[in-house]
Symmetry: C2
Subunit: 317 residues, 2 copies
Amino acid sequence: MGQRIAGFPDTVIITEVGPRDGLQSEAEFIPTAQKIALIQSLLDAGLRRFEITSFVSPRAVPQMRDAAEVMAAFRDRDDAHLTALVPNLRGASAAIEAGVDAMVLFASASESHNRKNVNRSRAESLAGFAEIARLAEGSGTALQGAIATAFGCPFEGDVALSAVLDQAKAYRDLGMTHITLGDTTGMATPALVIDWVQALAEALPGVEFALHFHNTRGVGLACAYAGLSQGVRHYESSIGGLGGCPFVPRATGNVATEDLAYFLEESGVETGTDLDRLIEAAALAEHLVGRELPGQIMKAGPRLKTASMDSVRTANG
Amino acid sequence: MGQRIAGFPDTVIITEVGPRDGLQSEAEFIPTAQKIALIQSLLDAGLRRFEITSFVSPRAVPQMRDAAEVMAAFRDRDDAHLTALVPNLRGASAAIEAGVDAMVLFASASESHNRKNVNRSRAESLAGFAEIARLAEGSGTALQGAIATAFGCPFEGDVALSAVLDQAKAYRDLGMTHITLGDTTGMATPALVIDWVQALAEALPGVEFALHFHNTRGVGLACAYAGLSQGVRHYESSIGGLGGCPFVPRATGNVATEDLAYFLEESGVETGTDLDRLIEAAALAEHLVGRELPGQIMKAGPRLKTASMDSVRTANG
């Protein structure tokens, strides 16, 4: 573990979103047993919070049609916190029945993206969340909120901080005390992160904020640095960087969990993870999807893995 | 331009190393005219400092055999600062004759890497630099120093800060007031950067330090963030991320200039560069080497380049 960078928190909780956010955009169905093996390898690497699946229409997102089976494999793991994405009442019922610890409700900070993503206005999304909140009451299942396009919209450009603040307040009023700011298409910058986090912490002092960055423009970990400098303790990432950017074919998506964990541990921040095992899990993820993933540390290995002097050729620095 | 992050400098100088560090490891010779076209496109994008070539044995590094011709194409650009890597007296004579603004002398902070890289002990390298310094005296050509493996050695592991400090002092004693810390194989971490930069600034107050990071383990820009937080104003990078890591086949090497410039400008730091033109130069670099380069922003485009809502398919955030 590295020396702690001044201002950084001493521990961080990483929520692994690969099994849901990462896999859902895969065209080929990943067999349920392989999803379960991947999640098990992530547990073995020390991760304890998962966005494990989503209870959506199997017609809309066929990859997630095994949501109940995936949940069933892990619902008895009392040491793990398992969440699932839920778009509507039907999904919420299924998620409660499946025994998730929390349902994640999501809407975008931009009107166009929300309409494109879920075919509703933002107001309609919030009205739906109120119904889900009534259903959840007394069920023992918590609610979490996710704000997509929180740092910018691929259709509209910049998103107003006021839109994010209003949405977070609406979530809080529905009882959500854990809210994720999602950088859906990699438009976050470190300066925006600092602004947003400061304003949200001031406006909503009882709420825990989580940050979810994409590395689409290379600054995913620099954005995490910015969040850490403000004391933010929750980050979401995806093993190997699973999960592409739907807007640009060659661009990368989610920050890779093992790269984030490496950065954190080398910055003196405890994550409870084992880097070697995260790298193994990333290799498994790469195997499951059958193509190279964008994570870096899985290719280079830990920094103190030394090479033999005979194994390489150098050319002047 | 973004809002300035507290503690960051207001301007940063980027030294583009792609034409030397990036291209030298290409197996296929890049024709001189194409090298010149690439450098011209980088000038058009606003860059003004270049590690433009290296005056080395054409047998050892055939890619750089056109060093004098490349220099000749730009030596009259009085608005550009052109440096070249120089390994010995013969190279130094050629560099002075070619009219470089400064010669870059380089040795590693680790004994094994220096021996592997230039087949000499560190002490032998420094003795050679003293001869070059005598040659340079009165020539009007400045000397700069580069410390390779400044944050770790692929053969030895951690490098002692004292080794870096001693080397920087030896450089300063030879008259070098601009010294680059090279993260040759991507072993720098933000916490190490903060430590090293603070210690060097304290020990050598008159010296300008430049930071050169590799993105081999994903934290290249997080390391730049660390340097910026300490007020460091000089960074080296390579267009498109040209230049691989010689130690790990799939791993990436240099931080991409356009990604660094994007991060800086979005953090309120002036670089004098034009992002659209940097992206064009990165595309040209990709064309010259004939394969995909690791830079991110060249694939995703600037953050406010909006998409049409019909052009994409999304699946729940």
